[in-house]
Subunit: 365 residues, 2 copies
DNA sequence: TCGACGAGTCGAATCGATTCGACTCGTCCG
DNA sequence: CGGACGAGTCGAATCGATTCGACTCGTCGA
C-alpha cells in the first residue's frame, strides 16, 4: 500500500480478467491540482475563468496549471459540473419525425444556434412523444407539435414546476410556465387553398392519416371548408391519406394521380408530401404544374431543392428565429417570463403552381 | 439553525430579485426518502431494482417509496447518476452534414437502436469535426468519415486512452483502442462506373469539391481511372463540382445537363447529388434514364423515394447494422476487443439507369 | 434455550467538479 | 513601526445519486 499510484506506464497488466484491458482512468481535476502543486479550487478557477475571493489567479500559477492539464490530457467532467451548477449546457429536442424536412430543419437550426453558444443538442425522441416527456432533463427542452390534451398539459406543468425550462410548439396550448411557439398553420392552409382556387376547381387532397381521423383544427379542414364554400364537389376519391413516411406519401400521390378523373391540382398538407407528389407526377409522365399543380404546407428548406420549386405556405425565416428563442431560453437566468411567440404564415410562390411559366425550361438538345 | 429544512410549501418568496419567480426546486432522492421514512439507500434500490446486502426491498417498503416519489413527482437526476456510475446512457454522433441523407440515415438508425436500449442520442456536431473531438464524453461516440491524418489519429488515441469508447467510420484508419467501421466506397464506385459503361461512353461526373482537390483515395478516382482504361476522353467540362448542400448539387447538375454536348449518363459521388441530378433533368425536360442515366453512391434510404428510383451502390442493410455495432459498444462492459467491421458494397439497381424499362409509366389520361 | 442465518435496512463514503469563507503574505499609508 | 488592505490561494462543504459493509430482527434447527 506504500506504492505511489500514478504509475501510468506499467504496461504489463496481465492479471486482468480476459487479457490486458488497460483502461487507464480519466484524469480528474484533483490529479491536475496535485501535479501542478495547487489546490483543486485554483484549478477550477483557471478552467472557468472565474475569480476566487480576491482577484484572478496569478499568471504564473495559471500557466503551471494549464501545463499540468495538457500533460495529463485533462478534460473537465461535464456530469460533475452539471450536478454542482445545475446547468447541463444541453438542449433537448423532441421531434415527431426526424426525416421530415420540417423536423430536420428545426434540428439543424437549433443545433447550429446551440453550438454557437457552446451548447450541445440532444435528440430526445423521434416520434414517441410521451416517452420523451419522461426523459426531459436539460437547460431547455423543445417539444414539437404539442397537442392541447389535459394529459399533456399536466405533464408540461409538472416539468415546469420542478424548474425545467420548456419551449413547446403548439397551435392550441397557452404559455403556462413555459414558452409556446405558435405558428398557426390553419390560416396558412386557407391561403394555400385560395391560391389553388384561383385557377383550379378539381383539387385533390394529400393529407396525413391523423388529420382525417381528427379533422377538427387540422389541416384537412381548410380543404373541406373552401371546397364547400365554393360549391365544389368534394370527391371522396380525391382525398388520399399518408402515414409518416416518404414512401407512404409517394404511394398516396401515385394513387391520386393514376385515376382517370385525376385532379388538376393537389393540396398536400406537408411539404414532404407535396414533394412526393411532384416526384409521383414525374414518374407518371405528368408535367408540373401544367398537368397537375402542387402546393405544400410548411415552407421547409426542401421546398427549394426540387424542380419545379414548390409553392408552399409557411412562416418566413422560421427555423432560425425559433432556434434563437429556444437557445435564449436555455441561457436565460430566469428574468424574462415565458411567453407566446407567434409566427404568421404567408404564401411562398414557387414553380409548382405557376401556370404562366413556360411549360418547361426546354433545351435544344 | 435549528429550523428543520423541508419547508417546501412556504409560497411567499417575495424577497427574490425581480418579482416572484417561484422556482420550486427539483425533488431529490433524499426528499423521497424522508417522505417515505426510509434511507436514501433504500430509495435508490427501489429505483434501480438492485438489491442491497441481502435480497431486495420488501414489497411494502417499495410501495411506500414509489408513492412518495409519485407524490413529489420525483425523477432521478441523470448527472448525479453519471458521476457516480461513470455511465451516461448516451450516444454521441459527430456527423458531417445532418441534411445529407447518409448522415440522416445514420442518425435515425442509431437513435432508434439507442432508444430501444434506453440510451439517448446526442448530435455532437454537424460538420465541425475537430470541435466535436473536444466535446466527446459519453458511453460511446461515433465519428463520421474520420480521415487518417496523424493529428486525427493522435486525438482518437488520446480519447481511447482515457477510456472513451469510440466507433469511427473510416476508410483508412485501423482499429487502435477503438472500433473502425469500414465500408470502402472506392470498390463500390468502380462497380457504379462499370454499370454505366455497359451502355454509355459519354459519362459526366458530379463530384464533391473536396474530392477534386484531393483526388487520391477519393470517389473521383474511379471515374478518371475507368474512363482512361476504356480509352474514353475525359472532357473537363463533364466534371461538375458541388459543395455540401442540396442547392449546390442541383446547380452543378443543371450546369452539366445544360451543355449542348451533355453526357448521356451521370456518375454522382453521393446519392443526394444524384437525386439533385434527377430533379435537374426533370426540370430541363430530360427523361431519366432515356435522355440521361444517373447513378449515385451510398445506397441511402432516399434512393428509394424518388422516381425513377435511383440506381446506386452501397452496403446493404448498413445503417441498422452499424447502429447495432455502436450501441453494442456502448453497452459492452469491456470484454470484447475493439475491431474492424467491414461492409462490402454492391450494386443496387434502380430505375435511373434501367434503359430497358418502358420510357415512362405512361398513363392514359 | 441459544446461535446461526438471512432478509431487509441503514449510515456513510464516494464520484468530480464548484464556490464560499478564511487564511497568508506583501505593500502601502499614516 | 503598526495596522489596514487586497491579491492570491486554500480547505472544506456541497450537488444528487450509488453502493459497500454493518446492523437489526425474526425464524428455524439443534
Amino acid at each position: 500500500m506504500v506504492r505511489a499510484n500514478a504509475g501510468g506506464s506499467t504496461a504489463h497488466g496481465s492479471s486482468g480478467p480476459a487479457g490486458g484491458t488497460n483502461v487507464r482512468r480519466r484524469p480528474t481535476l484533483r490529479m491536475v491540482a496535485e501535479l501542478a502543486g495547487v489546490s483543486t479550487a485554483t484549478v477550477s478557477y483557471v478552467f472557468s475563468g472565474r475569480s476566487g475571493g480576491g482577484s484572478g489567479v496569478a499568471e504564473a500559477t495559471a500557466k503551471r496549471v494549464l501545463e499540468a492539464a495538457e500533460q495529463l490530457n485533462y478534460r473537465p467532467n461535464r456530469a460533475a459540473r452539471t450536478i454542482r451548477t445545475g446547468r447541463s449546457d444541453t438542449v433537448q429536442l423532441s421531434l415527431h419525425m426526424l426525416s421530415d424536412p420540417w423536423s430536420l430543419a428545426v434540428a439543424a437550426a437549433v443545433n447550429d444556434e446551440a453550438n454557437r453558444h457552446g451548447l450541445t443538442t440532444l435528440i430526445l425522441a423521434d416520434g414517441d412523444w410521451y416517452a420523451a416527456l419522461e426523459r426531459v432533463e436539460s437547460d431547455v427542452a423543445y417539444l414539437d407539435a404539442a397537442v392541447g390534451s389535459d394529459e399533456v398539459r399536466r405533464h408540461l406543468q409538472a416539468l415546469a414546476e420542478r424548474g425545467q425550462r420548456l419551449v413547446v410548439f403548439s397551435e392550441t396550448l397557452e404559455p403556462d410556465g413555459y414558452d409556446v411557439i405558435r405558428s398557426d398553420a390553419i390560416p396558412g392552409c386557407y391561403l394555400a387553398m385560395d391560391h389553388l382556387l384561383e385557377r383550379h376547381t378539381a383539387i385533390g387532397c394529400l393529407v396525413a392519416e391523423d388529420a382525417v381521423r381528427a379533422p377538427e383544427h387540422s389541416r384537412y379542414t381548410p380543404y373541406l371548408a373552401r371546397m364547400r364554400e365554393r360549391g365544389l364537389p368534394v370527391v371522396p376519391e380525391h382525398t388520399a391519406t399518408y402515414a409518416n413516411t416518404q414512401a407512404s406519401a409517394f404511394a398516396a400521390a401515385v394513387a391520386l394521380l393514376s385515376r382517370d378523373d385525376r385532379p388538376t391540382a393537389i393540396y398536400a398538407t406537408t411539404d414532404f408530401a407535396a414533394i412526393a407528389a411532384i416526384n409521383a407526377a414525374h414518374m407518371l409522365g405528368l408535367r408540373v404544374p401544367h398537368d397537375v399543380a402542387v402546393i405544400g404546407v410548411g415552407n421547409t428548406p426542401d421546398a427549394q431543392s426540387i424542380a419545379p420549386t414548390l409553392t408552399t405556405v409557411g412562416p418566413t425565416d422560421f427555423y432560425r428565429r425559433q432556434a434563437e428563442i429556444i437557445v435564449a431560453r436555455a441561457l436565460d437566468s430566469g428574468a424574462t417570463e415565458p411567453r407566446l411567440h407567434e409566427f404568421p404564415w404567408s404564401l411562398v410562390p414557387g414553380g409548382s403552381t405557376d401556370l404562366d411559366a413556360p411549360p418547361r425550361a426546354v433545351r435544344t438538345l
